[in-house]
């Protein structure tokens, strides 16, 4: 159960002359939830895109476990405008699930993110938050082994955020996937993650790692351990 899903060694990336990432080393174990935080423009999306295979790294090694099923919530919505809400899920499911399995899961997820009444709408008819939720549902709809989430709770209000977080964790327990989460909100990170990586510097590296040992269900923002981590993170942000 503790095989590495992902391991990164000495990875670096620059856009033209602008160095974004340098000397990134990272390992992800099966079933782990890891959050990446760091200030805006530090290179989180860049790192994610490299892991997702959407961007080439300049140097370094990146190994994904063989046959790993990856899913992703992109930072900018990437929905097919000519497909309905439900068909946007079907489109990605077809290579992973049977039609029957897929249909049941779609129903379940669209209910979960509150879009079941909009299953036949086109993305152009959704509000900002609704698009975001659709992205979220799509990522879960293929029963992934590893979930890459880039700001999945953006434009989503607290109530809904809690619902989505619950959906995520419930699935996590049932399906035993791993999660890499990018968020700009340290509170989200401490509530969800087993480990938090803080990205900083120019070029950025993983400046600090926090481990959280309290089980997800039992965490509260006011808990002492959690609170001190939040304080530490706040300090890091200020220094960056």
């Amino acid at each position: 159960m503790s095989a590495n899903l992902l391991s990164i060694k000495n990875l670096a990336k620059s856009y033209n002359a602008y160095e974004v990432l340098a000397d990134i080393n990272f390992e992800l174990k099966d079933g782990e939830i890891v959050a990446f935080i760091g200030s805006s423009g530090s290179g989180k999306t860049t790192l994610f895109n490299i892991i997702a295979g959407l961007l080439d790294r300049d140097v370094g090694e990146l190994t994904l476990k063989e046959g790993l099923r990856l899913a992703c919530v992109f930072q900018e919505p990437r929905l097919l405008p000519w497909k309905s809400v439900e068909d946007n899920l079907t489109f990605v499911q077809q290579n992973f699930l049977t039609e029957k399995e897929g249909a049941a899961l779609r129903e379940y997820l669209l209910k979960g993110v509150g879009l079941i009444d909009f299953r036949d709408s086109f993305p152009g008819e959704l509000s900002g938050g609704m698009k975001q939720r659709l992205e979220f549902a799509r990522a879960l709809s293929i029963k992934p082994d590893l979930l890459l989430l880039d700001e999945p709770f953006k434009s989503i209000d607290t109530g809904l955020k809690i619902k989505l977080r619950e959906l995520l964790l419930k699935n996590w327990q049932e399906e035993a996937y791993s999660i890499l989460l990018i968020t700009h909100d340290p509170r989200e990170a401490v509530l969800l993650a087993d480990r938090i990586c803080f990205l900083a510097g120019q070029p950025a590296g993983i400046e600090k790692e926090f481990k959280i040992r309290i089980p997800q269900g039992e965490r509260g923002l006011a808990d002492k351990g959690i609170y001190s981590i939040l304080q530490e993170i706040a300090d890091l942000y200020l220094m960056d």
């Binding site: 997702a52 295979g53 959407l54 990856l70 899913a71 992703c72 992109f74 900018e76 990437r78 097919l80 405008p81 000519w82 497909k83 489109f91 990605v92 077809q94 290579n95 992973f96 086109f122 152009g124 008819e125 293929i142």
Partner: protein, 257 residues
Amino acid sequence: MNHFTSSFFKIAVGTAGVLAVLLLWGGLSSRFSSLILPSPLETAQVLIELLESGILVTFILITVKRTMIGYSGAIIAGLVFAFFLRYSKFWRLFFRPLITIMQTIPPVVWLVLAVIWFGIADDLTPIFLIFIVSFPVVFINIYHGLGNIDYGLVEMARFYHCSRKQIFFDIYLPSLLPHLMSAISIGLAFAWKSTVFAEFVGSSSGIGFALSVANNNLQTDRLFAWSIVLIVLMFSFEYLIIKPLKKYVMRWEPDVG
């Protein structure tokens, strides 16, 4: 405005434009001999004669058949080449100048080559010329359209292990369709014209041949009558086939203004 009055309005305005041209034509023609500029009435008479003689329908069928064959060929080749050249740098560099050459060689020279390649075959020369003339138009439009595709969506699909076929049918095609439709409707006019030109100089049947005979005999009224036939054909294609297709193809687009 309810649906009926609105579509009535549309047709009325469009017709007004055509009527204005007809009036202008009528007015102008009264000042010239019918050898120079026949009146709309004279033209209509010739049109009726042509219809009664049966030659109208025969020639239309011939020309439409040739155009369809040559043009579908051009569309398919245009699509294939556009994809091929967009995604293979080598073949892009290799073929790009050739397509420019193809675009530039004047039709008379193509006719010389057509005789060499196809000899006497009455159908092949026009079909070849249609292909040659409309292929670059279709190709360039599609190639350009491919450049406008939201690459983020393709990445997303690749990410989710979608096959080339899926990516083609569910991303490229829907993104391309608007471009494709406009490529097809721009190219169509050229396809028509090149069929007509090819028949004009190198065939013994079809509307172009009829135009050439009319021109040789200085029968300006026939020249105009056949042009009207062409215009009606073009309109039928545009409004009965291309327009509805366009609408269908773009049905997911939320209407703007």
